[in-house]
């Protein structure tokens, strides 16, 4: 009797009801828009309802579109500029701050604080740091007798400048993830190493590094996915200029979809973004599987 009522209570379709509210919003506002977007990318469509099936023509057009290719290049460049620096600095911070002193705790709080600001506050702050007339850096330039640099108006400097801003904004998250990986190592391991008179370098190479390596790979992949989505910094600070030098993919999608209302074409560009992000997220997973597979063969 008790057993059968338990089965009724725990195995029935009725239990699905608890997940249903979330599942309906999820399907309605995330899964359906994704699938409908993929369908839309196969149409020539604009806001006024004209829809015309053209198969992969939008995608072919993308790869002949200089503006799109430039935006794709900018996005890849931006990821290349931000992610390695982010991972390295965050790792150095985590290694320096993985101790129970007050200063370390204070420093951890400060590093993460900038991450809780919105992108619109971020750009207000940094415009007044970077502008050549009256910006913080221009004052330093004057002090050493140099003409101030127009960081955001220089085609070669604009992406690196946006990368610096982004690193300043995003260091907190990877640092916290690295710290939590470091704290997984039991203290007894370090104590044993100290008893064996291990050098700091060998402790780092044989204990610390293997402990954080999975987190490093995870963070690098996650940050790639995140930085491919960069939008607010260039949209607010440079509008993608000068000459498109700072227009990333998402700004391109935004302009194509919501300024030119060429929505089928913009949907195709959105799928390219989605594909890039999937690759970024799947590569470390695939690497892990490959690693396990090769290890299995060797054994």
């Amino acid at each position: 009797m008790a057993v059968s009522s338990r089965n009724e209570a725990t195995r029935g379709w009725g239990n699905l009801l608890f997940a249903l509210p979330f599942l309906s919003v999820y399907v309605w506002l995330l899964v359906y828009p994704l699938l409908a977007g993929i369908r839309l990318s196969l149409y020539r469509a604009n806001l006024f309802g004209g829809e015309h099936f053209i198969a992969f023509e939008n995608y072919v057009r993308l790869f002949r579109d200089g503006t799109f290719l430039q935006a794709l290049g900018n996005s890849l460049m931006f990821v290349g500029l931000t992610v390695p620096v982010l991972v390295l600095l965050a790792l150095m911070l985590a290694l320096s701050l993985n101790r129970a002193t007050r200063f370390a705790a204070f420093m951890r709080s400060v590093v993460f604080a900038s991450s809780v600001l919105s992108v619109t506050v971020l750009t207000i702050i940094w415009r007044q740091v970077l502008v050549p007339d009256g910006g913080l850096l221009s004052h330093f330039s004057h002090m050493i007798g140099q003409a101030p640099v127009a960081f955001l108006n220089d085609q070669r400097l604009v992406l690196p400048s946006l990368a610096v801003i982004t690193v300043w904004w995003s260091l907190g998250l990877p640092m916290i993830l690295f710290l939590s990986a470091l704290q997984q190592v039991p203290r007894s391991v370090y104590e044993a190493a100290a008893l064996d008179r291990a050098t700091p370098w060998s402790v780092f190479r044989r204990i610390t590094l293997p402990a954080v390596m999975p987190a490093v790979i995870l963070v690098a992949a996650y940050e790639c996915a995140l930085q491919f989505q960069v939008f607010g910094q260039p949209q607010l600070l440079t509008q993608g200029g000068p000459n498109g030098a700072s227009r990333p993919l998402v700004l391109y999608i935004y302009e194509t979809g919501f300024n030119h209302w060429d929505i089928g074409y913009a949907a195709a560009a959105s799928q390219m973004l989605f594909a890039l992000i999937l690759v970024a997220l799947l590569v470390p997973q695939a690497a892990r599987w490959l690693h396990a597979f090769l290890k299995g063969r060797r054994a």
Binding site: A19, A36, I124, L177, A215, A225, G232
Partner: protein, 278 residues
Amino acid sequence: MSRVRGRRVWQGLRYAFCAVMLILILLPLAWTVFLSLRNNVDLMRQAPLSLFGPYTLGNYGELLKNRTLFRWFFNSMVVSGFSVAGVLALSSLAGYAFGRLHFPFRNWLYAFVLMGLAIPDQSVILTRHHIFSTLHWHNTYLALILPGLSAPLGVFLMTETFRAIPKGMEDAARLDRASPFMIFWKVLLPQTVPAQASLGIYTFLLSWNDYWWPLISATRPDMFTLTEGMAAAQTNYAEVTGMGVLMAEAVLAGLPVLIIYIAFQKHIVSAITGMVKL
């Protein structure tokens, strides 16, 4: 002996690195506060500003007269507040179902939900915009709140939380013939309060800081969130308010999130480290 010296050198390098990072992180923030305390006439002059003043709170006084700013602040409170309530409710119910109950295709459905973690908001924007257009819901609170509820992260965190509660907690209640909902409400939900706090604060920050969706959905200035409003403010400050006021606005817009961050730092950290278990 040389090993001790090596360690000292490392120690020195570590402190130097920390000091440099501290300055680099704090300097832009200090500069913003500094500018917000100067009057617009001084700021318009090209000459370098003296560190010794004159300082003024006039820019902050200007803000108090700004009705739109309070409207944006109110909108942000409404949107973030309901987003937190919605995410917690939906995620807890679904987390209970996936983590604690059995039903056909449960694991398949859970995998289906986790796949959503890879879908970026930007790549669904065109059709999402279309959905709200056909319903004539743009420029409403509902439109600003709903898309945030479709994110699967909360369900993942809650499923893990419910799963981690020791087995057998609900056995006594089940013998008393409590319904699955009563078991959820009376027995299990109270066990998840710390995780609810983490997810709630994380959701609040995410919703408060979201720029992408409000930019597309809320086109009427009276429906802007504070984050979106700060975008409008910085593109036309020269004609409207002057730079000092803009900087004061930035300080005021940053302050609520900074206060929440300082007050609930532990919860934010545990929400972030919880995500990694995936």
